[in-house]
């Protein structure tokens, strides 16, 4: 269970989502392409067993495996678990059973879903068959699910070349993780102060260094930090680069200057964009101040204050 959030600590959903590509290699390519034509392929191991789904390398001898065989679309449930509340992306939207099915002709079992009205309708040893998806593309989802079946048993596995026209060589596997993100006590306090256009760091009780943004602990001393210290608003550009590549998801025109800025009173630099000055006039030691956006949580960028540049010796330890 998620503990009740403290009112001072911020929380927000964080969704991590990405479509990964996978090159299949010869064995998985044959297996998934087979499904497209309602053909289930396994692989024969060095000791003669038939593995379904197939693998590229023998789990016992580590030999490379290439001896493909075709097995039946019917099989026996070897074990199961009822899934009362399916989540997004699972094979069926109504409650179903996760089953391990040993297809006729195979020696190992395949994990998939069984469409059944309830857990009372499922048992180990029950006979099932593949329900094929109407549209098949060469993916494990070409098997829509399994369903109960009381027809004849399939025979022995038979050799198969594994050769198909237009084989599937890669797949896209969408991945998604849902998190609840909480930045913690120190950063929540820092963000709250930023909303009032003030920047607060935290001082380490041991080494006295001021951390901005604060993390709630000093990474050098390993002790908690609590004492708040207002820093800035002005600071010094310690170093920088000129970015000439437009970031895909960032609405900033290039070139722009990405700088490390040591706010007055802080013991390490934070990173921000420099504006209000041609990019090729930015220099180490430039004195800058924040420019706050209308409703932003952070300064939009920093601009020159007009003060003389800071002497190198005053910030060289912060590089």
């Amino acid at each position: 269970m998620t503990p009740a959030p403290s009112p001072e600590v911020l929380q927000a959903p964080l969704v991590v989502e990405f479509p990964f590509t996978r090159s299949l290699g010869p064995v998985q390519s044959a297996f998934l392409t087979g499904l497209r034509t309602r053909t289930v392929l396994g692989v024969r191991t060095t000791d003669g067993r038939v593995l379904v789904p197939p693998v590229e390398y023998d789990p016992v001898t580590a030999d490379e495996l290439a001896d493909l065989v075709e097995v039946a679309p019917t099989g026996t449930v070897t074990t199961w678990a009822w899934n009362p509340s399916p989540r997004r992306g699972q094979p069926l939207s109504a409650p179903f059973a996760w089953v391990l099915v040993r297809l006729d002709g195979a020696d190992t079992a395949l994990l998939h879903a069984l469409d059944a009205p309830g857990p009372d309708a499922v048992r180990t040893g029950m006979r099932v068959r593949i329900r094929w998806a109407a549209e098949r593309e060469g993916a494990i989802t070409d098997i829509a699910c399994f369903e109960p079946y009381d027809g004849a048993e399939g025979g022995e596995a038979v050799p198969h070349t594994g050769t198909f026209t237009d084989p599937v060589r890669s797949i896209v596997a969408p991945a998604r993780l849902d998190y609840t993100y909480a930045p913690g006590r120190a950063q929540s306090r820092y963000l709250k102060a930023l909303a009032g256009r003030a920047t607060y760091g935290e001082r380490c009780p041991s080494c006295r260094k001021v951390y901005v943004p604060p993390r709630g602990a000093c990474p050098t001393c390993g002790v908690a930090t609590a004492e708040q210290v207002e820093v800035g608003p002005r600071g010094t550009v310690t170093t920088f680069c000129i970015v000439n590549i437009k970031a895909r998801n960032l609405d900033i025109e290039v070139p722009y200057v990405y700088a490390h800025i040591a706010l007055d009173g802080a013991d390490l630099a934070l990173h921000a964009r420099i504006g209000g000055i041609p990019y090729d006039e930015v220099r180490m030691g430039l004195r800058v101040e924040p420019v706050w956006s209308e409703d932003g949580r952070y300064p939009d960028h920093y601009r020159p204050t007009g003060e003389p540049d800071a002497d190198y010796d005053t910030y060289k330890e912060l590089l």
């Binding site: 911020l10 927000a12 959903p13 964080l14 991590v16 990405f18 990964f20 590509t21 996978r22 090159s23 299949l24 290699g25 693998v55 590229e56 390398y57 023998d58 789990p59 016992v60 001898t61 580590a62 490379e64 060589r169 890669s170 596997a173 991945a175 993100y181 930045p183 950063q187 963000l191 380490c204 080494c207 260094k209 001021v210 951390y211 000093c218 990474p219 050098t220 310690t238 170093t239 920088f240 680069c241 000129i242 970015v243 000439n244 590549i245 970031a247 960032l250 900033i252 070139p255 990405y258 490390h260 013991d267 390490l268 990173h271 921000a272 180490m284 949580r297 190198y312 330890e317 590089l319």
Partner: protein, 388 residues
């Protein structure tokens, strides 16, 4: 009780390339492992344990890939360990494997590292959209470019040094059949005039994105006696880490790197690395890191690393050849890049580096770093077994 001496008797790697669409991840690692076994003239049954490393799982999106790779690496029924230290992982993986031999836990260990960058998204994997934080403003190169500028300011290095490194490493890569980039027609002028991506870093001064794997067979003294080819002997190995950001961090010459080098030299009995080491494979993903690491690793005094590069000392035929294989600038399957440095150092002292062999190399350093300059791993290998 003294440690068991550790010998490298087998080295294998794939031909690194932008995309290996013909193989799965299992097929990729298998290729490197089979080549390492062939080099050692051993079979799967001779291997007692497997130690594998790669960069973050988010890169390819296969969580704990070592579980699925056990069959491909003959690891069923044997101990299999996964190591993870960001970009330095290839180095630290080899050191964990070496530790198992040195401690006499296992006699012969297969160690391997890989990345299939074509099926991954490193940029995305490293910069998740964390709520309440400003989006990352500059990307990976943008993270390192300000430190390069700081190095130039601190040392007075002239602006052309980075181009010299990139040109040298790409030329060296032409002699390495496994290197990803083989830019036969590249000229120094082209490097100098390539687009400025993150000023002061130009396009030609950055590493490529590669699919590849590297494997090594490490064994004890008895195993080395049976090896068909000369082994490389480990004379020292060390790892150090420090936070990505902390007050007082020296990004130009991180303390963890300096301490790690000092430790590995002490183990190897090296007091003057510049004179005593014959070849260096260091992790240089952006060209300027060559002079920076030359100082960090004690090959040059502070402020003088660029002078070694400028005067040709680090060329293949120089006094201290750096990255004769072409380095990370020519080949970068991230998780494997560190192990490639370690393996290339071993190839040099075994005299088996082929066209990029450094004449008379007897002692070599392999170096890797990763994260925000926070993980370091190094080893020193030599052509003779350590004393004692």
């Amino acid at each position: 009780m003294t440690k068991e001496p550790v010998a490298v008797v087998g080295i294998g790697q794939t031909k690194h390339t932008a995309a290996r669409r013909d193989v799965s991840i299992a097929g990729l690692v298998r290729e490197a492992a089979v080549r390492a076994l062939e080099d050692a003239q051993l079979t799967w049954s001779d291997i007692d344990a497997v130690v594998i490393g790669k960069a973050p799982d988010f890169f390819e999106g296969v969580m704990m890939p070592e579980l699925y790779l056990a069959d491909a690496l003959g690891a069923v029924g044997k101990p299999m360990l996964r190591v993870h230290t960001a970009g330095s992982v290839g180095g630290s993986t080899a050191l964990v494997a070496a530790g198992l031999v040195a401690a006499r836990v296992h006699r012969t260990v297969l160690t391997l590292a890989f990345e299939k960058q074509s099926e991954s998204n490193a940029m995305w994997g490293l910069s998740l959209p964390i709520p309440f934080q400003q989006p990352l403003l500059a990307g990976a190169g943008g993270f390192f470019a300000p430190h390069v500028r700081a190095y130039m300011r601190r040392t007075g290095a002239p602006p052309g040094i980075g181009a010299l490194v990139a040109y040298k490493d790409r030329r060296n890569a032409l002699r390495n059949p496994y290197a990803h980039l083989h830019e036969h027609d590249l000229t120094l002028d082209q490097v100098r005039s390539s687009p400025m991506l993150w000023d002061p870093i130009r396009y030609s001064e950055t590493c490529p994105s590669s699919d590849g794997a590297c494997a090594m067979v490490l064994t004890d003294r008895a195993g080395a006696d049976r090896a068909p080819y000369p082994p490389a002997w480990m004379h020292g190995g060390a790892m150090r880490s420090e936070p990505t950001l902390f007050a007082g961090k020296d990004f130009v010459s991180p303390r963890a790197g300096r301490d790690c080098a000092a430790d590995v030299y002490r183990q190897a009995g090296i007091t003057d690395p510049r004179r005593e080491i014959d070849a260096v494979e260091m992790y240089v993903p952006f060209s300027w890191y060559e002079p920076m690491w030359l100082e960090n690793l004690g090959f040059a005094d502070e402020g003088a690393g660029w002078k070694l590069t400028e005067s040709g000392v680090t060329e293949l035929d120089g006094e201290l050849p750096v990255n004769p294989s072409g380095g990370v600038l020519s080949t970068n399957p991230i998780g494997a890049s560190g192990m490639l440095r370690f393996a290339e150092a071993a190839l040099q002292v075994r005299g088996r580096a082929g066209e990029h062999q450094v004449d008379g190399a007897r002692k070599a350093l392999g170096h890797a770093y990763g994260g925000g300059s926070q993980f370091f791993s190094m080893w020193v290998v030599a052509d003779t077994s350590p004393a004692g």
